[in-house]
Point group: C2
Chain length 288, copies 2
Amino acid sequence: MIDLNEHTITAEVVRRWDGCADPRFRELMTALIRHLHDFARETKLTEAEWMAGIKFLTAVGQKCDDLRQEFILLSDTLGLSQLVVARNHSRPPGATEQTVFGPFWVAGAPRLPHGADIANGATGEPCHFSLTVNDLDGRPVPEAVADVWHADSAGGYDVQAPDWTMDQAKMRAVFETDAAGTVRFWSVVPASYPVPTDGPVGDMLRASNRPPMRPGHLHVMVQKPGYDTLITHVFVNGDRYLDSDAVFGVRKSCIGDYVRHETGRAPDGRTLDRPFYTLDATLTLARA
Amino acid sequence: MIDLNEHTITAEVVRRWDGCADPRFRELMTALIRHLHDFARETKLTEAEWMAGIKFLTAVGQKCDDLRQEFILLSDTLGLSQLVVARNHSRPPGATEQTVFGPFWVAGAPRLPHGADIANGATGEPCHFSLTVNDLDGRPVPEAVADVWHADSAGGYDVQAPDWTMDQAKMRAVFETDAAGTVRFWSVVPASYPVPTDGPVGDMLRASNRPPMRPGHLHVMVQKPGYDTLITHVFVNGDRYLDSDAVFGVRKSCIGDYVRHETGRAPDGRTLDRPFYTLDATLTLARA
């Protein structure tokens, strides 16, 4: 069609997808076009603002490499990731809720026996973790595979060290639940931390006066055939950033009590003469 | 706020811009978030589709370099560029309309006298261009600066040659209108051509079964103090792609008659013994 104006152009752009053989791709693209055009019309987007957007998106793409995904970070900080997660994992009442996967999981973490100390020299106060995996009827789920990973007391993940390889793994491991549905291990208390702010998303957060902080949390992924894979966090109850997670990942069913003990007997029978923490959390799986 | 779900999350993400000191930035970002979230909800975007989108946008960013702007190409092929151009240059009836700038203009093109042949060896059938710049009252606009640039008979621009520098300029120049508001020069007839399809936007067009073609056109930018700078094309009337420009740039007031002559006397008095074309076009400027 010739002679498009700002009102007629959207229908014409949508029409160009008439020949698309994949109906779902067509549905997604035409919905995207309608929203993109409505955004520009509603905001009366100027050419200078359009160019600023082009430059921002280009910088986001160019910040990405094998270990950094700035577009996921953008999606996270705009709440899109958590929206998509929530939409695709609406679980029955009582089941533990899904949160964002985040960028720090790595395939091939060491498979360890219960009781192992996965801190592997990481800094922080020792914490004994006990995670019990149940089904919705409260029955334990044995032989489930539980990936765990988290940050140290400075808010850093092992993979953020230069030239990191898996033989330097800290604060990450894979366990299997026992007959009681439980995994137990030692590590350190995970601290709150900022999302990476040295790229264009950091510029966006600063321009918005938005804190980049995430509350402290343990990441857990639990997989067992027959169950909806659970990707979630166990957030530190009382963390000052619970209410303002930069990536909107906090759900009520994902908060755990990291209990401080000055000294004394730990759940595994050991006696500690320095302060330590214990976390006892229950993760409830829904059927697939 | 804790315990966001797919319905409550949007208000919370918008609320996070409450502390933004720049009201326009806040307006743009919150409108963007609302549309982005509505898009995901309406389409029931899956996690796999979300990840495909992340990978696509990353690839678009990584295709960009000093000579290639794949995000502008994406904006062009989604009709956003032309929408923004149309919105920001709604001109009074009678004024020549604005179209997309495109990626092939380069600063510093040679300033040439009227009558020059700017083809500079480019392939194609010779064409005598006569462009008259008027105001809305039909009065000529002298001493306006007119940048012109276009593709050859194969649809290629000079800048697409490897290691191109301005001393190899072809089919681009800068003229000044004379007392009659006119500039005259020789070049070749611009052919239709595909937008670059060797990147992710090319993949998108193929997946959509959308032709990548643009109808043949001369680019013109006319600048004179006191007038709204005009960035437009003079499209080749009769081109088979006028109705399906891949970047939605065709406006009725931007089509010109490129008239074929078998042999004979050209407008500058020269006699040609081979076929040639003439274009006589009027560009009407609106006041700034």
